[in-house]
């Protein structure tokens, strides 16, 4: 029995049992039961759509508090490039990095720098890999899990290159432990995350046994303390140059940044999970086999649109674009750098992605066929309103749940109403037959009397 860890969870006290989240979930992983939302763990991909839509803020992403870094003697921050887009009038990335250090981190390693490495690794894969086209980027953890749950046929299209966060963590840990001669176990690496799915990848990795990252702090949590720390940096102070990422690495925060960094002409970048699903369906139908690379990001705008960011995604996207336009190209990685990294780090997944057939009705195909027929029969009798009042996102899903034994047809309020009305009618009709004892004014009795009177009167008349 596998247990699942998810960052996305429910705050039961705040949940009103409305239908917003069940309707928005791309994997139909939420049901409202007994007035509260319920996340089906094996279906959830931690995309965070429900966090965004919930009007009562009952859906939350569990991340680590800033204080958790104190569990480690040495602390390293891994800022996602999205973090740079959160601040107004930011002229230098160094300011953010110094701000992080004043919050208690001993070292800062940019995930954008990790992205520079991943770009090079992926270029090699594009040249050498025999996997089917288009290759699908595995940078977005929610999309990787979406493929696993909803598009298992496309698992072989996924690149098996580790994420920029994992690469950054490996490099940061190795360099720090060598430079300061400390044991790796004393180092805590923390990702500054815009995204719940990343938190899940740290606790419950996919494609690898164990993450190299110790925890994740949400951008929302760190935004306040970090802006304070940054405001204390006086403009007259000389700012040391800490930034090592290239502008292409920083651009990974925006949709299309990865494809652009790869220098590909024939790639497609799509953001927003519903849009990604539509394109994955095209790929599944073999309509895009002439495409080299597909970059799909679950959030609108890319990582800048993550559920745990402070700034509006369009504003942040624009800020990053401006920031990038002012940056120097930065020193590109030399082929030797890349060769060395390839030999030193675990840059590829070492575990296969196993399809999660959560839609399957039964392990045995014949039983599944029987259940399918039953499902169709039940579905044909449901009203087809997809109102969500039963707690399932659509009538079809309710029919599925009934077949699986997790719901009954009277969870449907329309069916229930009809049944109650029918029963009420029947009760009224039946009530006429209730014997009334000594009461003489019942309708039945009166009628009987009337009948008797009539009989007598007819007998009387000659």
């Amino acid at each position: 029995m596998q247990t699942y860890y998810h960052s996305v969870t429910l705050n039961k006290n705040k949940c009103m049992g409305c239908t917003n989240c069940i309707k928005k979930c791309p994997t139909e992983a939420i049901r409202v039961r007994d007035g509260k939302a319920n996340i089906i763990a094996e279906r959830c991909i931690d995309c965070g759509e429900c966090i965004r839509i919930c009007p009562y803020h009952a859906k939350i992403a569990v991340t680590d508090p800033l204080s958790s870094i104190n569990k480690y003697k040495y602390k390293i921050a891994l800022p996602a490039p999205t973090l740079y887009g959160q601040f107004k009038n930011l002229t230098s990335i160094d300011k953010v990095l110094i701000g992080l250090k004043t919050l208690g981190f001993d070292h800062v390693f940019e995930v954008a720098r990790g992205a520079d490495f991943v770009t090079e690794f992926t270029k090699r894969q594009l040249k050498e890999s025999l996997s089917p086209k288009p290759m699908i980027s595995s940078a977005c953890p929610a999309i990787v899990r979406l493929v696993q749950v909803r598009f298992p046929e496309l698992i072989n299209n996924l690149t098996d290159v580790e994420s920029p966060m994992e690469i950054a963590a490996q490099i940061a840990k190795k360099e720090f432990s060598e430079k300061h001669d400390v044991d790796k176990s004393q180092i805590g690496v923390f990702f500054i995350t815009p995204c719940a799915a990343k938190m899940t990848s740290i606790r419950n990795p996919i494609g690898t046994e164990k993450s190299n990252v110790e925890g994740a702090i949400s951008i929302l949590d760190i935004y306040g303390p970090l802006s304070m720390a940054m405001s204390k940096i006086s403009s007259s102070d000389p700012i040391p140059s800490l930034q090592k990422s290239s502008l292409k690495g920083v651009a990974w925060a925006n949709s299309g940044g990865e494809g652009n960094a790869l220098g590909l002409d024939n790639y497609l970048a799509v953001d927003g999970i519903d849009n990604v699903i539509r394109v994955l369906e095209e790929i599944e139908n073999d309509k895009l086999s002439d495409l080299d690379y597909f970059e799909g990001l679950a959030c609108v705008g890319g990582c800048v649109g993550g559920p745990l960011v402070f700034e509006n995604n369009f504003v942040a996207q624009n800020r990053l674009k401006k920031l990038i336009s002012k940056m120097d190209a930065g020193k590109p990685l030399s082929p030797e750098d890349v060769d060395r990294a390839v030999d030193t780090y675990n840059w590829r997944w070492d575990r296969e992605i196993i399809p999660k057939p959560v839609m399957k009705l039964d392990d045995n195909i014949l039983s599944a066929i029987k259940k399918m027929e039953e499902l169709e029969r039940i579905y044909s009798q449901l009203p087809g309103l997809d109102c969500g009042s039963c707690g399932a996102p659509s009538c079809r899903t309710l029919a599925e749940d009934i077949v699986r034994g997790q719901a009954t047809e009277f969870d449907c309020i329309i069916k229930l109403r009809k049944k109650v009305k029918m029963l009420a009618q029947e009760m009224i009709e039946l009530s006429d037959y209730i014997p009334t004892g000594n009461e003489r004014n019942s309708t039945l009795e009166k009628e009987r009397e009337k009948d008797e009177d009539k009989r007598f009167s007819t007998e009387d008349t000659p």
Partner: protein, 146 residues
């Protein structure tokens, strides 16, 4: 519709395909894919069967006057059947050649008519059969072994 057939359970779903209606084109194939997924069919077979279903559906939307797409599932195989009411294929052998297409320019502008439909269906299936008669219609059958 389920029937016990010589001890084997058979499930049949029939989808009506409208000629020239691009708004709903692809829906039957998409439903077939969902159906196969719920039945727990192997991912690779789903992929091949749904590509074949999609191509067969598009063929009927583009070339025929309308028809039906049928999927039959037993414990041992999936049979995809497509039958339309015309106009029929003049030279079946030629139609099976990659790149050969009779699609009109307006259809090509929509990105269809690359002449890969029938060859693709054949490539995806384990057993393929097609027969056509001018003025009568076309019958296509693709089998997938489970």
């Amino acid at each position: 519709m389920t029937q016990e057939n010589s001890g084997d359970l058979v499930m049949t779903h029939v989808y009506k395909i409208e000629a020239g209606n691009f708004t709903i084109a692809g829906e039957a194939a998409s439903n077939i894919k969902k159906l196969l997924r719920q039945l727990g069919i192997d991912a690779n077979i789903i992929r091949r069967a749904s590509i074949a279903a999609y191509e067969a559906e598009m063929n009927m939307v583009i070339h025929s006057v309308g028809g039906h797409l049928e999927i039959e599932i037993t414990g041992g195989e999936i049979v995809l059947k497509a039958y339309d009411n015309g106009p029929g294929i003049e030279d079946v052998e030629l139609a099976m050649e990659e790149g050969y297409s009779t699609a009109t320019d307006s259809t090509r502008e929509l990105g269809f008519g690359a002449g890969m439909g029938l060859p693709n269906i054949k490539r995806c299936s384990d057993q393929f059969h097609i027969q056509s008669e001018m003025g009568q219609g076309t019958y296509l059958e693709a089998k997938f072994v489970l």
